[in-house]
């Protein structure tokens, strides 16, 4: 049975529809990659799951039970088990990396101060930032900030991790360190829904790939299918553009 089950969800930003009847499933321990052109609604799916975007139709179910986004207790319970990392501006600028990671467990989960701190330090070590614990976000590179953001998400012990184009705003040389970290989490068995443009990475790490365009799911399947031999025409055009991505002159 799926851990996360999204059924026919619709959502709009004002008058503009961004999600039209989107359905997808994520099983426990699975890594699902969400790909597609800009504006296809990929990020909106993640925002809708965590309750940052209001649904006008459809249902989201976590571990079998539907989420009632209008009910604060239900939303709280959801956010207790699902964590999200954004493309940028994740870290709280006014506190150190360590403080960023310990804030929510202390305030929201009300756990013991010292316990939380010990766990936070271990997490930061795991993502390779033990030396930068007391640094402020502005003193860290983009890649380092995103790794702290992931440590921060992990500190909440989520059962599902949502990653929203976490490398898209980074300078090219910083992308790999973040991808490595995500790979680590996948190997550990973290259930993840990843929106990304890094196709090589998705092909390696994802168990399932969902291709979206214009607010709809166009194709779903294993990476080899969707990326290498897509069925739908739209996915084919997308894949073709991706293949050309390593720039080569057009053959005359």
């Amino acid at each position: 049975m799926s851990f996360l089950s999204i059924t026919e969800i619709d959502a709009s930003y004002g008058a503009v529809p961004v999600l039209r009847g989107v359905s997808l499933q994520v099983a426990r321990g699975q890594v699902v990659g969400l790909i597609g052109p800009s504006g296809s609604g990929k990020s909106s799916v993640l925002r809708a799951i965590t309750g940052l975007l209001r649904l006008t139709a459809g249902e989201v179910a976590l571990d079998g039970s539907a989420v009632d986004y209008a009910n604060p207790a239900s939303l709280r319970a959801l956010r207790d088990r699902v964590a999200i990392v954004f493309q940028q501006y994740n870290l709280f600028q006014n506190m150190t990396a360590l403080a960023n990671v310990t804030l929510a467990p202390i305030l929201a989960k009300r756990r013991d101060h010292r316990e939380v701190e010990a766990e936070a330090m271990a997490l930061l070590e795991k993502v390779g930032l033990a030396d930068h614990m007391r640094h402020y976000p502005r003193e860290l590179s983009g890649g380092q900030q995103q790794r702290v953001a992931m440590a921060r998400a992990l500190a909440l012990k989520p059962e599902l991790l949502l990653l929203d184009e976490v490398t898209s705003a980074l300078d090219p040389e910083l992308v790999n360190e973040v991808l490595d970290t995500i790979g680590l989490l996948a190997a550990d068995g973290m259930t993840m829904l990843i929106v990304s443009h890094e196709m090589a990475f998705i092909r390696e790490v994802a168990d399932q790939v969902v291709f979206m365009d214009e607010g709809r799911v166009v194709e779903t399947g294993p990476p080899q299918h969707v990326l290498d031999h897509p069925c739908s025409e739209r996915a084919q055009r997308f894949a073709a553009k991706i293949l050309r991505r390593q720039w080569r002159p057009k053959t005359p």
Binding site: R79, F86, F92, N94, L103, A104
Partner: protein, 229 residues
């Protein structure tokens, strides 16, 4: 003219007059500090009512907007008299000081609410969102994440507005509050030339405002230091 002015100086700056001027300056400063101290707090509350992420109660939000727009669009003099006659009609006779204080509080609240609101809205939405999805209460979001970052945007204009309100206290002279401008009028009535009286008062205001500016600049430097969680 210069000769007569110079001959006035020793009498003007006699001990009794200097004490009088000092007291008047005290009143000016007291009015500003009390008015802003209380007014800024109200302004902060008003701003919270207007930021939907924190409080989303339309009637309160519209009331806050109405109040702020009304107070901003009235001249200080008119506001002063409205407060005075309003309380009189209600059966309360307030001292000029009280009326002036209340007027400054109202004005400070209205102006501060705009400043605070702009400050809160200057913090990137992702900061709010990240805190919300981590199940931090709205109060915690405000206290630990948003407000510490918003201060940087709020304080500089707030300090400029403090100086503006200090200047506005001069209008309280019209309801006989013995602040600095009224003191100038009294000196003039005592026989000193208007040029000397009001000129001195003008320079005293300038010195006051500059002093406040200096304090502000020093505080700004302290605020740039990072805060520890």
């Amino acid at each position: 003219m210069l000769h007569s002015l110079l001959s006035e100086l020793p009498r003007f700056f006699g001990p009794y007059n200097l004490l009088f001027l000092a007291q008047a300056i005290g009143v000016t400063i007291a009015l500003t500090i009390v008015g802003c101290g209380i007014g800024y707090n109200f302004g902060f509350a008003l701003a919270l009512l207007r930021v939907q992420r924190i409080i989303d109660i339309p009637p309160l939000r519209w009331s806050a907007i109405g109040f702020v727009e009304l107070v901003r669009r009235l001249p200080f003099l008119v506001l002063l008299f409205l407060v005075m006659f309003g309380f009189q009609a209600g059966g309360y006779t307030l001292t000029g000081m009280a009326v002036a204080c209340i007027t400054i509080i109202l004005r400070a609240a209205a102006i501060a609410s705009e400043t605070v609101r702009a400050g809160l809205e200057s913090v990137h939405p992702n900061q709010w969102d990240a805190a919300a999805t981590m199940n931090l209460s709205r109060l915690d979001q405000l206290r630990h994440v948003v407000l510490p970052q918003a201060w940087r945007v709020i304080l500089p204009p707030a300090m400029i507005q403090f100086i503006q309100l200090l200047k506005a206290t001069s209008i309280a002279s019209q309801i006989s509050v013995i602040e600095l401008t009224y003191a100038g009028k009294i000196m003039n009535q005592k026989g000193f030339s208007a040029t000397l009286s009001y000129g001195t008062v003008l320079i005293l205001y300038y010195v006051l405002c500059l002093a406040v500016e200096r304090v502000v600049r020093r505080m700004e430097k302290r605020l740039v230091l990072p805060q520890h969680h």
